[in-house]
Amino acid sequence: MNKVVKNAEEAIKGISDNMTIMFGGFGLCGIPENVINILATTSIKGIICISNNCGVDDFGLGKLLKNKQIRKMIASYVGENSEFERQLLSGEIEVDLIPQGTLAERIRAGGAGIPAFYVPAGYGTEVAIGKEAREYNGKMHILEHGLTADYAVVKAWKGDTQGNLIYKYTASNFNNMMATAGKITIAEVEELVPAGSLDPNFIHTPGVFVQRIFQGVNYEKRIEQITVTKPN
């Protein structure tokens, strides 16, 4: 079975209107640029988008947002994305804001066949409205549910032809769990290598989770805030 596809265009085959799609990344770190860029050129709309953030105004998922391709956003942080905040406050977009750890765990649970679990985060806040609550170890917890998606789109540092992935530094973030939670998982990688090239002891995402993989091109890897120490 061949998992390798030529490029982002081939990778997104089958994605159509109103699908639920997960996108890896935290801020602009570790986002699948190639797939996002190609989706922005399509007329695909009504996306239910699961991603910790929604890019910035003109980059990353911000592009799909600006194109009004996203119907609903499931995220933990709006942050400094002014278009996202505008669409949210005006009601143009449906938004489900979820505590970041709960979001991460819901995605892991979805991929791991765990339909529901209890967490303390959000108890007593508006996040808990309508949710079952229960006391464990003297502390209130709320019931949260696993999340899956029609497609999960992740970005890795290196990948092999079997779909095994490794991430660099903090670029793992949501990618590693999302890879497990897509009915179809698309991985774009900076470097695609033959099976057997990566040390099997240090695979972050085992290949079983990945259905399509390709080597991305022209990574911009934009940085939101360049903070530096001045050399003495």
Binding site: F26, Y77, E105, P120, V228
Partner: protein, 217 residues
């Protein structure tokens, strides 16, 4: 005189203990890293997947794949590790982080905190703050005591909550307050700030017992 941001960070740094694993929120908390006392080793956790944050990189070492939870470029120290967000919040939720320092819009005398939303006006999102405040063993809030004259140290929060009954200590530009079952307890005051000024700036129940020392900044 009221403390500036760096002085608040410096005061909070006095709460650090050797061997602590600490999560620093965005803003003033991030500055705490600059004032870790001599002879004390703390490990900084960033919820986007790094244990062992180092200083900002030299300009030629900036890497888009190496950021903190505030999306700032950082470095890592010897003995650091990188991991995914589920592992990161497992660490937090499981009580493996000793101390969380974060900012807030408001804090209540029961230890409630509001920090993520001003209805109709501003939605930043809760990010990892709800997970952190629900799970950390010890939570210190760094914040301004008032906003345009209005107290942010309240009986009850007026804004949507981030967490309930979770904050243990508040360090503001005016004072250090412990949160006790009886309400805010005044521990220290900023140099030159009087107890009267702090009382005036505090809406929540404030306990003042005996002489209140000045902070040692």
């Amino acid at each position: 005189m009221a403390l500036d941001k760096n002085q608040i960070a410096k005061r909070i740094a006095q709460e650090l203990k050797d061997g602590y694993y600490v999560n620093l929120g965005i803003g003033i908390p991030t500055l705490v890293a600059n004032y870790v006392p001599e002879g004390i080793e703390v490990t900084l956790q960033s919820e986007n997947g790094l244990l062992g944050i180092g200083p900002f990189p030299h300009p030629d070492k900036v890497d888009a794949d190496l950021i903190n939870a505030g999306k700032q470029t950082v470095t890592y120290v010897d003995g650091a590790s990188f991991f995914d967000s589920a592992t990161s919040f497992g660490m937090i939720r499981g009580g493996h982080i000793d101390l969380t320092i974060l900012g807030a819009f408001e804090v209540s005398e029961e230890g409630d905190i509001a920090s993520w939303k001003v209805p109709g006006k501003l939605v930043k999102g809760m990010g990892g703050a709800m997970d952190l405040v629900a799970a950390a063993k010890n939570i210190i809030v760094a914040m301004q005591h008032t906003n345009k004259g209005a107290s942010k140290i309240l009986k009850q929060c007026t804004l949507p909550l981030t967490g309930v009954k979770c904050v243990k200590k508040v360090v503001t530009d005016l004072a250090v307050l412990d949160i006790t079952p009886q309400g805010f307890k005044l521990i220290e005051r900023a140099p030159g700030v009087t107890v009267q000024e702090i009382i005036a700036a505090t809406e929540g129940k404030l306990i003042v017992e005996g002489d209140i020392p000045e902070m040692n900044i």
